[in-house]
Point group: C2
Chain length 201, copies 2
Amino acid sequence: MKVKVLFSSGKDSSLAAILLEPFFDVKLVTINFGIVPTFNIARETAKKLGFSCSEKVLDPSFIIEAASMLIEDGSPGRAINHLHNSALEAVCSETDTTIVADGTRRDDKVPLLTVSEVRSLEDRHKIKYIRPLMGYGRSAVDALAETHLQIIQGESDEVEKADYEVELRSFIRKQYINGDSIVDSLFPKHIQSHVINKKIS
Amino acid sequence: MKVKVLFSSGKDSSLAAILLEPFFDVKLVTINFGIVPTFNIARETAKKLGFSCSEKVLDPSFIIEAASMLIEDGSPGRAINHLHNSALEAVCSETDTTIVADGTRRDDKVPLLTVSEVRSLEDRHKIKYIRPLMGYGRSAVDALAETHLQIIQGESDEVEKADYEVELRSFIRKQYINGDSIVDSLFPKHIQSHVINKKIS
């Protein structure tokens, strides 16, 4: 059974792929909105984990919409959810998609679909949506990561990743007057992880 | 990392164990409340799946309490949750427990802990509680079962299992006046699954 896993090169999507690998034919997909070229970092990390990775390029209009939401709300939650939903909708719409997965987990607040959004996604596209980490809390995820991954951690602006936030931040910095200060105030710095390799057990 | 998986010999707890097997040292635990001897069926199924299985015997008072809840409510939801919570508390209280898992899944209503109950369980016992199927919907679980398990299905009274409902039903049939009609009316018949072997891929 082939499963397409949304992949950012971060800890969670890497672990989701690793948990699925013994049971599914895992294909990673990294999403790009045409703002920052993030495919190289995703492909490189995927290769080190032993997976193939393709790129799905979506329209920059999603980033423009997300930026407006961010400014309106004064926080990035709805914007990031919008990008994640758009990514899922796009991958689920591909004719060869039967199972889609991502790295969202129990303690995540964003991005996260509600149970009814999950069922709607599955019903409308006639696909299965699997979230392998949804039954794992923070400490269980950390224990898995410790066992299976070599990780670099750093503040969110410094870690190279292929996630939505990278492109959204970059767009706002370039396109908005006072973009730098908007990003600095609305994206509180937090520790991000980038996977550099698999640990050999 | 050793994980104790609550095991009923049903499809869901079997799949939970199988999903964890590549990443954890899986030990199955079957719960018994002293009403019906269910250990043999659990141990036999566990052996066919390639796992060891121990029995944790809890006090029959939990079944007595659950039966009262069932009669009071006119439906088995709270009673089954009470038995599941009691089982989790007992296993989490063992001094050698660091990780506990079960077969609850996304579309389950009962037994199911709320997010705050899950966090409370983890915090109070300083353990990790993993629900490997929590990110899997019904059709994804069915696809996994189809690939990995040989299953017998039948109406809930006919399938031999080592789950809470078997003991609760038996207790009510024996101890309550009109026990048979209480069980027949309050446990609507539904299709239960019992795992008889692993499929060799």
